[in-house]
Subunit: 112 residues, 2 copies
């Protein structure tokens, strides 16, 4: 999979439409970590775990272009940038919740 890039023509199938916007691991993790509230770039990088700046930046830019994420720059020294979910981004929470619930249940059945 891929799509760094943004929404092109929408697929016929709604599932594919969703995949075209959050169809990779990073975006789901960004969503997860922004769900509780706004975070700075550095915080995000920490909470996600193993992302390079480059990748995180690219994913955030893509999600911003897709209207899922809001980016706010503060003119301070040192600079501060805060990311948060837009309403559209928030609307993805049910998907996230179902993934959370499934993973939780899976771990209880098969987990270590």
């Amino acid at each position: 999979m891929a799509q760094q890039t943004t929404k092109v023509a929408l697929p016929a199938c709604p599932v594919e439409t969703t995949l075209s916007l959050i169809g990779n691991k990073w975006k789901v993790l960004i969503l997860r970590d922004l769900a509780p509230g706004k975070k700075r770039f550095g915080q995000l990088q920490k909470s996600i775990g193993n992302v390079s700046q480059k990748v995180l930046t690219a994913q955030l830019r893509s999600m911003e272009a897709d209207g899922l994420v809001h980016r706010e720059v503060f003119a301070e020294v040192p600079p501060r940038v805060e990311y948060s979910l837009t309403d559209l981004g928030e609307s993805l929470k049910p998907i996230l919740n179902s993934m959370w619930a499934w993973g939780e249940n899976y771990k209880q059945r098969f987990g270590q």
Copy 2:
């Protein structure tokens, strides 16, 4: 993202656990197309759209190893292989449904 490969140590976060099993486009599409019922290899390849045999085979094998998909071979000529969701695979339907619902709604708001 990636994971052709299968479940290793489970991540702490349930969302990541889920991602480790269906964290790529192909698996979600396979899930979608097996949700209504069993399908043959060729049918799957058609309904998914643009998958090479190689990729489709690899994804199916991985999902089989993870216990999401059941593979049944019939000793016929020409050979027939049917794929279906296991109970565990079926249990992923809520995630799929939430993705379907979101995509549908998104298309109504922004789609052509």
